[in-house]
């Protein structure tokens, strides 16, 4: 494979490796560099670029909140007039207890909601309190919404893409907390 770092194939291999987590050792990027037959500097350079481009949303310790007692998650769906979606979506997306805030299409008449946000708390009461706070602070008093609490979990794992299937380890691309899509 051409190992020039501006090669999209190189980026892809790096994303594949990095998705599995950084090795817990003094020079983790040097370990990754050896796997990809490139230099430590090149690994850091491409990662820097992915961060700048916004392809990497954050780089750090990825925590499983359920294990820390955040057991309730409510998918809060809102029916927001199209012309207000950007403004109100940005308001809802800024809270630290909100993970994921996406606009999605309505499917009328069965499904009138066009904005989806995931709200986490220790229990349902806390989730509801936080939703009340969002409603008040973002001025959503006249917006129709619904909280869909999660029941049974039938399957949960990181995203898994066909071309990586040769590998034994799954590639987890997104937050483990909740559905992204």
């Amino acid at each position: 494979m051409d190992m020039r770092v501006d090669n999209p194939a190189f980026e892809k291999s790096l994303i594949d490796v990095i998705s599995q987590g950084l090795p817990l050792t003094g020079r983790p990027y040097a370990v990754i560099a050896r796997q990809l037959c490139c230099s430590e500097n090149q690994v850091l350079e491409v990662l820097q670029r992915l961060v700048q481009r916004g392809d990497i949303k954050r780089f750090g310790v990825v925590v499983r909140h359920r294990k820390l007692g955040y057991r309730a998650n409510g998918m809060v769906v809102w029916n927001i007039p199209d012309e207000q979606v950007s403004e109100l979506g940005s308001c809802i997306g800024q809270y630290d207890f909100v993970t994921l805030c996406y606009q999605r299409p309505r499917r009328l008449p069965a499904w009138p909601y066009n904005l989806f946000s995931m709200v986490h708390g220790h229990d349902r009461t806390e989730v509801i309190k936080q939703v009340d706070m969002i409603v008040e602070q973002c001025g959503l008093q006249n917006i129709e919404y619904n909280i869909l609490f999660s029941g049974r979990c039938f399957k949960q794992r990181g995203a898994h893409y066909a071309e990586f299937r040769k590998k034994t380890e799954p590639v987890s691309i997104q937050h483990e907390m909740a559905a992204n899509g």
């Binding site: 994303i15 998705s19 599995q20 987590g21 817990l24 050792t25 003094g26 020079r27 983790p28 990027y29 040097a30 961060v51 916004g54 392809d55 990497i56 949303k57 954050r58 780089f59 750090g60 310790v61 990825v62 925590v63 499983r64 909140h65 820390l68 998918m75 950007s86 809802i92 997306g93 630290d96 207890f97 993970t99 805030c101 996406y102 606009q103 999605r104 299409p105 499917r107 499904w111 989806f116 619904n146 869909l148 609490f149 999660s150 029941g151 049974r152 039938f154 399957k155 794992r157 995203a159 898994h160 893409y161 066909a162 590639v171 987890s172 997104q174 909740a178 559905a179 992204n180 899509g181």
Partner: protein, 152 residues
């Protein structure tokens, strides 16, 4: 849930989005926390083995690799478990959850391209005999700054 030391609490809370992109990230954290690098590495290793930390690394923008969508189905309660099992059986499905609504089964489907994604949705619909509501992401308003763990 066990008690976490002050060091562990800081590792879990303060570095969700600010791991330095330097050749020696753990030494940098150790420096900031005033401990040895080996202590940081050992603590992270333990938290990872316990499953509290899923990994140290990157969270990617959705659809950066491949395509995905959120899908939902309305299933009668007595059929829910068997339908969910069929859905979970698809390699392309992750995050398959029950939710309390008329649309009570929610799952994420990922595929390498849009054509394959539509094929999988069709296949799920055919195999389960239920209509699948396809809700692809149109715009992302979420600024991922990590999640503030409110230690009490």
């Amino acid at each position: 849930m066990r008690q976490y030391s002050q060091l562990e609490q800081r590792l879990l809370n303060d570095f969700q989005h600010s791991l330095p992109l330097s050749p020696t990230p753990y030494a940098d954290l150790a420096n900031e926390l005033g401990v040895e690098e080996s202590t940081v590495i050992e603590s992270l290793d333990r938290l990872q083995r316990e499953g509290v930390v899923s990994r140290v690394g990157a969270v990617f923008r959705p659809n950066r690799v491949g395509v995905s969508t959120l899908a939902a189905m309305a299933v009668q309660e007595e059929q829910l478990e068997s339908v969910a099992e069929i859905v979970s059986g698809f390699e392309e499905v992750n995050h398959n959850y029950e939710r309390d609504h008329q649309f009570n089964l929610w799952f994420v489907v990922t595929a390498t391209d849009a054509k394959r994604l539509q094929e999988v949705l069709q296949e799920i619909s055919d195999r389960t005999g239920h209509e699948v509501m396809d809700l692809p992401m149109e715009q992302d308003f979420f600024i991922d700054l990590g999640f503030d763990l409110k230690w009490t």
